[in-house]
């Protein structure tokens, strides 16, 4: 390790911490819904406030997401790595569950997110 190596390491760590900070500000906004997207397309939007179980069948792939006491988690998945199950519970806006083999993303959103998208859609 010499001086330049240290500077590189510190800069990247600093940038990462800054991003953490910015994300923390974003996180503070209320979020009460999850959006599930498969292959880039919205599969459905579900409220975090009611406990439910969402079964997803897409091109022979199976995923089961459970929403319980305001948190969502992947309960079952037949993907090879099962990383999506390991990712645990999510409930803030900066958290996502990704099932890469199935191209499935569960993200926490709020009303503003949906409005932004409506604007995007108009712009298109």
């Amino acid at each position: 390790m010499n001086k330049k190596d240290g500077i590189l390491g510190l800069c990247v760590t600093g940038a990462a911490l800054l991003m953490f900070f910015l994300m923390g500000m974003n996180k503070a906004e209320d979020a009460d819904q999850v959006r599930i997207t498969v292959d880039g397309e919205t599969y459905g939007i579900y409220s975090l406030e009611e406990d439910q179980e969402i079964e997803i069948q897409h091109e022979g792939n199976h995923n089961k997401i459970r929403i319980e006491s305001g948190k969502a988690y992947m309960e079952e998945a037949d993907c090879p790595d099962e990383y999506c199950i390991d990712q645990g519970e999510i409930h803030t806006r900066t958290q996502t569950i990704v099932c890469l083999p199935h191209k499935l993303v569960v993200e926490v959103i709020n009303e503003n997110d949906k409005k932004e998208e409506a604007i995007d859609a108009i712009a298109k």
């Binding site: 760590t13 990462a16 991003m19 997207t37 880039g40 390991d86 996502t96 990704v98 890469l100 993200e107």
Partner: protein, 168 residues
């Protein structure tokens, strides 16, 4: 180095990198972020950059990813690894050309760019840019593992230079 010797070294490095990848896949460490791992196979790439020609190292990287991918992974995992592996290779070659960076700096740059490349491909595959939220932890992980790999590479290189390359 003579041509025969170079070919033998490349083959050995590919084999070594494959073993590292395999052993690593056996260790069930869950960092909570998908794709986060030690990247021991990067040890081979980093050390290789110091006594092989860059094109040879690139071939080692690609072969290692393809072979381990076919044996232990799946088609998609090959794609992520290739994106990360090739990007980190070029970044490391570039950083090596800049004066003032030691092997640790090169390895850190490699670790970071590997993670960035993989994350970018993953974000494209799921078509969801929210994956950038994984970037900060992956940057820090890349720096930490890069530093570790750099320290190890340095020690390995002294051994290689002392015992294997003197006879040329």
């Amino acid at each position: 180095m003579k041509e025969n010797k170079e070919i033998t070294w490349c083959a050995m490095m590919v084999a070594l990198a494959m073993i590292f990848s395999y052993v690593e896949s056996l260790i069930p460490i869950n960092f909570g972020v998908p794709g986060m791992k030690l990247g021991v196979a990067n040890l081979v790439t980093v050390t290789g950059l110091y006594f092989l020609k860059p094109p040879q190292v690139l071939i080692i990287v690609i072969l290692r990813i393809l072979l381990t991918g076919f044996m232990f992974g799946n088609g998609m995992s090959i794609m992520y690894s290739l994106a990360g592996g090739i990007l980190s290779f070029f970044v490391m070659v570039l950083v090596k050309k800049i004066k003032g960076f030691s092997i640790s700096g090169i390895s850190i740059a490699g670790g970071i760019s590997h993670n960035v490349g993989q994350l970018f491909v993953a974000a494209c595959v799921v078509q969801n840019m929210k994956l950038v939220y994984y970037l900060p932890p992956l940057l820090i992980a890349g720096t930490a593992t890069g530093m570790l790999i750099g320290i190890l590479s340095k020690r390995i290189l002294t051994v290689i230079n002392k015992f294997f390359l003197v006879t040329g």
